[in-house]
């Protein structure tokens, strides 16, 4: 656990970058620092590994003040990823990844073997290991940056806007990759971003900072969206807060109807305006209107109990029937959420 205890940073020119920050980043969780540019995110992050020293207050790593630890030793135990990746241009990829193991005095072969293992872990082809950083795309370099930060298996990972410089498609895949890695590794991660959507997607807890380095709110993403502490946070969260909050509402309680499905070759004649055609192995095929049983209309699915209400609503809006198809993990139909059922669930979400 990382503890900020009334931490203030005043730069020599008088700028107060961080002002009386107190918070905890729990072990094994992703804590996101989010806020507008210049609100002290980078400064806060760098005080953890002592690239910057706090003016007042202290930062504790599992109860031990970082001020008491010699900086190089402290830093070798903390992974660090930055926006431009910061790879060494004169070192091959494998040696870039093995940097901290080398610093820790591992034997060369063991360090390289570890580096190769990590390259695979972050989804990079082992053929890239012999290349130099210039020969990699921005997204690949960023993956190498993550692999390098993980090389010596540090318990703590600091990430300063690591995905801001890549295009949106690559960014999304890097974010998914990080969540996947974190599910396996359970690191204590402090992640800095100015992008509130990224914060909500990645954070177990999100600390919203305002300019002047003051903590505006610290909460899990769902609470942040439903209960912003003040106008600053509300403004920062942006407009479609209500819809976005639905991604934290489970579909487990969503009522499903099982009487709206028919087999392939259905010729019409139920009492309902729409019926869902299901194949012999249980997969959805399409909606048919009772009036025109020969025309298959598109459908949308969500995994019942796993996906959020936002996915269910999205699935309903994809189909002219206005209903969402609930499936299990294997894609087999478990039931249909009608407009009425969605309406009920939404009313409940609005109360909650």
């Amino acid at each position: 656990m990382i503890t900020f205890d009334a931490v203030t940073k005043r730069y020599p020119d008088g700028t107060v970058a961080v002002d009386g920050l107190s918070l905890e980043a729990p072990t094994g969780e992703i804590t996101v620092f989010v806020g507008p540019s210049g609100c002290g995110k980078t400064t806060s992050l760098r005080m953890i590994n002592r690239m910057i020293d706090a003016t007042e207050g202290q930062i504790l790593l599992d109860g031990v003040p970082v001020q008491g630890i010699d900086p190089p030793t402290l830093r070798r135990g903390i992974g660090y990823v930055i926006q431009q990746a910061g790879l060494f241009p004169h070192r091959r990829i494998v040696d870039n990844v093995a940097t901290v193991p080398y610093l820790l005095g591992w034997d060369r072969r063991k360090a390289r073997a570890r580096a190769m293992e990590l390259l695979e872990r972050v989804g990079l082809d082992s053929a890239l290991a012999r290349r130099y950083p210039f020969q990699l795309s921005g997204g690949q370099q960023q993956r190498v940056g993550v692999a390098r930060a993980l090389a010596a298996d540090p318990p703590v990972l600091l990430m300063d806007e690591p995905f801001s410089a890549v295009d949106p498609v690559v960014r999304t895949s890097l974010q998914d990759e990080l969540l996947r890695l974190q599910a396996e590794l359970n690191k204590t991660i402090v992640f800095v971003t100015h992008d509130i959507d990224e914060a909500i997607k990645l954070g177990d807890r999100v600390a919203v900072l305002r300019v002047g380095g003051r903590l505006a709110q610290l909460a899990d993403p769902k609470t942040l969206l439903s209960d912003p502490a003040d106008d600053f946070v509300r403004e920062f969260l942006g407009r479609d807060r209500g819809i976005r909050r639905l991604q934290f509402v489970s579909t487990a309680g969503l009522r499903l109807r099982t009487d709206l499905t028919v087999e392939e070759g259905f010729g019409g004649g139920t009492a309902e305006p729409w019926a869902l055609v299901v194949s012999a192995d249980g997969a959805p095929v399409g909606w048919v209107a009772d009036a025109r049983p020969d025309v298959l209309e598109p459908f949308g699915t969500f995994v019942h109990g796993r996906d959020s209400m936002r996915s269910a609503l999205d699935a309903a809006l994809l189909s002219p029937s206005g209903c969402a198809v609930g499936v299990d993990e294997n894609g087999k139909v478990v039931g249909v959420a009608t407009r009425e059922a969605l309406d009920e669930a939404l009313a409940e979400a609005a109360d909650g």
Partner: protein, 225 residues
């Protein structure tokens, strides 16, 4: 041999290894000594001075100002000044050439270290490099291409400038030119020019080779573009 002047090949054969100090072979050796020593010496001195200028920024302005002044002073008065201390020796030639080399190499070291991207330096700090290790393993290697470019200039200009030492009787191959002035006979001049240019080309070639071996990552970048 006939009555006319000897051909250039005859002249070379006759003067190559006479055992006297002014045999072509001896002049060549002298020339190499008087150019290689300043090249190496200026590199050895410019490295710590360049590092000091980066570490203490205020040092750079006065240092580079002084170096430019030294560079601007014509070599003849410097020779005259030095003769009273070091006599008509090779040292008198080596000292000013070393300063010329430093005038090029100190800025090259400073620029080389300046070419290290800030995010690279920051990530080295964040990974737990000590300052010394960061300098040796990250900053200096990345500075190598810029320093080597400076070294190529220094090598070629030193090899060519040694000839000026002929004015005080220490010009290496340059003394072949003063001889021609006393007695208008072309072969020594041609031999002097050809050998000096060849030396410069060989030195430059060796440095280019060193650059390829030391910094494959620069070639890799070009190869991709």
């Amino acid at each position: 041999m006939g009555d006319g002047p000897p051909s250039i090949w005859e002249w070379i054969a006759r003067n190559w290894d006479t055992g006297r100090v002014d045999s072509i072979r001896n002049l060549l050796t002298d020339h190499l000594t008087m150019s290689l020593v300043p090249i190496l010496l200026s590199l050895v001195v410019a490295l710590p001075l360049g590092l000091a200028c980066v570490r203490w920024r205020w040092l750079y302005q006065p240092t580079s100002g002084l170096m430019n002044i030294v560079y601007a002073i014509p070599s003849l008065p410097i020779f005259m000044l030095l003769i009273s201390v070091t006599g008509l020796s090779q040292t008198t030639v080596i000292i000013p050439l070393t300063f010329y080399g430093m005038a090029v190499l100190i800025p090259a070291v400073v620029d080389g270290l300046g070419s290290v991207p800030d995010h690279v330096r920051q990530s080295a700090v964040a990974m737990g490099f000590t300052p010394l290790r960061r300098l040796l393993a990250v900053e200096l290697p990345i500075a190598v291409p810029v320093v080597l470019a400076g070294l190529r200039v220094v090598a070629v200009s030193s090899i060519s400038l040694v000839s000026v030492g002929a004015l005080i009787g220490q010009g290496g191959l340059g003394s072949l030119f003063t001889r021609a002035y006393q007695n208008p006979f072309m072969p020594p001049v041609i031999v002097g020019i050809v050998l000096i240019v060849a030396l410069a080309l060989v030195a430059d070639g060796l440095l280019v080779l060193a650059q390829r071996l030391l910094t494959p990552w620069v070639r890799a970048r070009k190869g991709r573009a």
